[in-house]
């Protein structure tokens, strides 16, 4: 098995706010991330696909096709967007690295037909990221 990783970058804004909590609790739990007008990041996404190289092409998958999937599913949905308000899949969730990476996994997983999605790593900054791997428990929404 060979792993192949493609990286893309997108910029988006977000804020952390749970309407079930009081303003004071939101402030305490989320700190600066609760600022009402939001803030932004340059996100870096690494998508890793596992598979056997095709004996004729030597490729696990057609990178151009993966690039198109990432453009359609991630870039068009999230790049230069306000994640809380403009990404339907994140409605009712705090747009943390954990939740965004899970949404990206769920968008990409059924679309990747050559090879198998192995890992989604989403960096919010150089020092903070979330990894998604196959198999997990469903997390609820508030």
């Amino acid at each position: 098995m060979v792993l192949i990783t493609r990286k893309i970058e997108f910029s988006a804004s977000h804020l952390y706010h749970n309407p079930a909590l009081s303003p004071e609790e939101n402030r305490r739990v989320f700190g600066k991330c609760n600022n009402p007008h939001g803030h932004g990041h340059n996100y870096s996404l690494e998508v890793t696909v596992a598979g056997e190289p095709d004996p004729i092409t030597g490729m696990v998958l057609d990178l151009k096709e993966l690039k198109e999937i990432l453009e359609r599913e991630v870039m068009q949905r999230m790049d230069h967007r306000f994640l809380n308000y403009e990404v339907a899949e994140l409605k009712g969730q705090i747009p943390t690295c954990e939740n965004i990476s899970r949404v990206i996994w769920q968008l990409l997983e059924p679309k990747i037909k050559q090879g198998r999605l192995h890992r989604v790593r989403l960096y919010e900054s150089a020092d903070l990221f979330a990894d998604c791997y196959r198999n997990g428990l469903d997390a609820g929404t508030f």
Partner: protein, 139 residues
């Protein structure tokens, strides 16, 4: 949408420390042969990068596996305060009898972090230089 994946939270920390790779079990010649420049008597230093990965349920109320401030303060107390700007050989008890290679550093850091109360420690990865990194998952 497809089934939920398993999610891990990764966080990077930095510390600078010195070390010397040397063991009393070898002669000076053997130390020099096995450890090369790393056996030089007064030691040398690195800017280490530590990557900590934890897993757990994502709390629907916060969207988080673990509160970052809690993880940061735990790592600060258990690792950064102990190792940063120290001599690993002289200042860290664990390395008085164990060679402070980055392999052993990974194991020591994993042992120090494995009892983080708010999430499961999955692995630590320590980058000694941009060209060398080591990982340990507890087994």
């Amino acid at each position: 949408m497809s089934q939920s994946p398993k999610i891990e939270l990764g966080r990077r920390y930095r510390f600078a420390a010195s070390h010397r790779l040397h063991t009393d079990k070898f002669s000076e010649e053997e130390n020099a042969r096995v450890f090369g420049k790393c056996a030089n008597p007064y030691g040398h230093g690195h800017n280490y990068v530590l990557e900590v990965s934890v897993s757990g349920d994502v709390d629907p109320a916060t969207g988080m596996i673990a509160n970052l401030a809690e993880l940061d303060s735990f790592v600060e107390r258990e690792v950064i305060a102990v190792f940063d700007h120290k001599s690993l050989n002289e200042d860290v008890e664990a390395f008085r009898s164990v060679v402070p290679t980055t392999e052993n550093l990974c194991i020591e850091i994993f042992e120090r972090l494995k009892n983080f109360p708010k999430a499961k420690l999955e692995r630590v990865r320590v980058q000694e230089t941009t060209n060398n990194s080591f990982e340990y998952s507890g087994e």
